[in-house]
Amino acid sequence: MMQDWFKKARLGIFIHYGIYAVNGTSESWAFKNGECSYKKYMKQLNGFTASNYDAEAWAKLFKRAGASYAVLTAKHHDGVALYDSKFSNLSTVQATPAKKDLLTPYCNALREQGLKVGIYFTQLDWSHKNYLSNSHKPLACYIDKKFNKMARWNNFLEFHHNQLTEILTNFGQVDLLWFDGDWERSQEDWRMKEMKEYIETISPKTIVNSRIGSYGDYATPEQQMPVTPPEGEWEYCMTVNDSWGFRPHDNNYKPLNEIIRTFCEIITLGGALLLDIGPLEDGTIDSRGVKILEGLGDFIHSNYDAIYNSNPITNHYYIGGTMLSDDKKSLYIFSYRAISPDVPVLLANLGDNVIEKAQSMNGDSIDVKTKDGYTWLTCNYTTDKISVIKLTFKDEFKEFTK
């Protein structure tokens, strides 16, 4: 169920790591969409080495990026688990030259860095013989008229339940469970209500995302930034380039400014950004992805209080974004314009809130002038990057009401 930490989660790192990185196919979807055959796709098992997998280095990078949590694909739709499952041989331990449980070191390393542990675990399993897809193009391996469909489905649900139990009991406290793929069957077929109750029983502090029928704890808009924020808690997931997993030909990395601007947009609207990277099959992360994470980290660490020790506030005040400090005495102004002394920053609707101090997050001074209901800030510094101004008020900030 929802936990307080997620309301200030701000940034998570999503990691799509799996055998699809071997040939750089699309994750699981490659055989579903006909990009390659199932057989060819699964041959990638033989090339998956995780030879440079270093969970501690990942966790340090995520911490450096300013994240508060991460989510790793413990099992994607292809059914390949990144841990040793008692209920399937299809895992990086049993079925790949890596012969490694990748999930345990990941969970430990995140905790070591003080990050919350998120695990992606898809509901569906396109490799399980009894998984019945409702897809318009069922895979040949699912078609077996000799067996009763319900018996097969029940068998799959039991398997799914067993793996879910492994995920929630073998890796310490799982802070967040990121389901996916629920759309292939109805929530009655999945028995989602029972699934949610079960999770709350065995792991009450685990937050569950929206992809569990209607029983999720928060919404997950994907690759498409919300205009109106969703109701309640939410998290926007987005890739650093155009792919969830590693694809060698995808060079379309988003510029750092675009990522920072997106991050600001999301957090000031009240959401968290779950930013995805796809490691190579050996476990290393493309340097362009690393650079983006480090650049975002520079922004977050230089504006830490404005991001993590504050809350979004309905913005009646400034053309950019606004956050209000936890003690409600400071308003943080996220400026998407270059700042210089000759172009003052204009604020409106501050009412009778008395500004005690105005400064940049570095402590550079700002002169304040109030006239005709508007507040003019003359910043005694320059920056051509997205930056944050801190206004501290004499008393708790009173929000504008129309």
Partner: protein
């Protein structure tokens, strides 16, 4: 459109397009010019000229008036377009609904973010000027993605700039919350 230079007021109303009444021997401060960029707070506002800043700000007024002269086609017969959730600064849509105009200041950090335009975008340019590179990212399932515009190589004016977004069809504004993707 009538421009009178007999009152100490400039009125801009997003519901009615823009009407301007400028008293001629007046000045407008650089600060107040920012109000035009903003158009964030009240739907209509007035800018009052004060005698004490006339001399000092005269050059700004001149560029301000020149700006409006250049931009007639934008200001008259236009309507309000995107709400603040999509683009926080002043913006308009043409009478036929097929062109969106964004007001952009020179110091905007690039790329410029615009949300909520669900149409396929044909062209982005400076008003009567150079084409601008843009990216309509993640435009999925016919709902709006995100528009990023880059003006890095464009000759922007010091004060106001207008970006013209040509749509292939009538403006369709998406105000939704996004959704999971069920087909990759």
């Amino acid at each position: 459109m009538t421009r009178q230079f007999s009152q100490y007021n400039i009125e801009i109303s997003s519901s009615q397009g823009v009407s301007i009444d400028v008293d001629c021997p007046v000045a407008i401060s650089a600060y107040k010019l920012q109000l035009l960029y903003l158009k964030t707070f009240p739907e209509t506002f007035f800018i009052k000229m004060t005698p004490e800043n006339q001399e000092k700000e005269w050059h700004i007024l001149k560029s301000f008036i020149a700006f409006f002269d250049d931009s007639n086609e934008v200001f008259f017969n236009c309507h309000s377009a995107l709400p603040k959730l999509c683009y926080r600064s002043f913006n308009l849509v043409s009478d036929d609904q097929k062109t969106v105009y964004l007001f952009v200041s020179k110091n905007a950090i690039l790329p410029i973010l615009v949300k909520g335009i669900a149409n396929k975008i044909a062209k982005v340019s400076l008003l009567n000027g150079a084409d601008l590179p843009f990216k309509q990212s993640n435009r999925l399932h016919n709902s709006a993605g995100v528009l990023w515009i880059n003006t890095a190589k464009a000759p922007l004016k010091d004060n106001l700039n207008i970006i013209e977004i040509k749509l292939g069809s009538k403006l369709n504004v998406y105000l939704g919350s996004g959704a999971p993707i069920t087909q990759n």
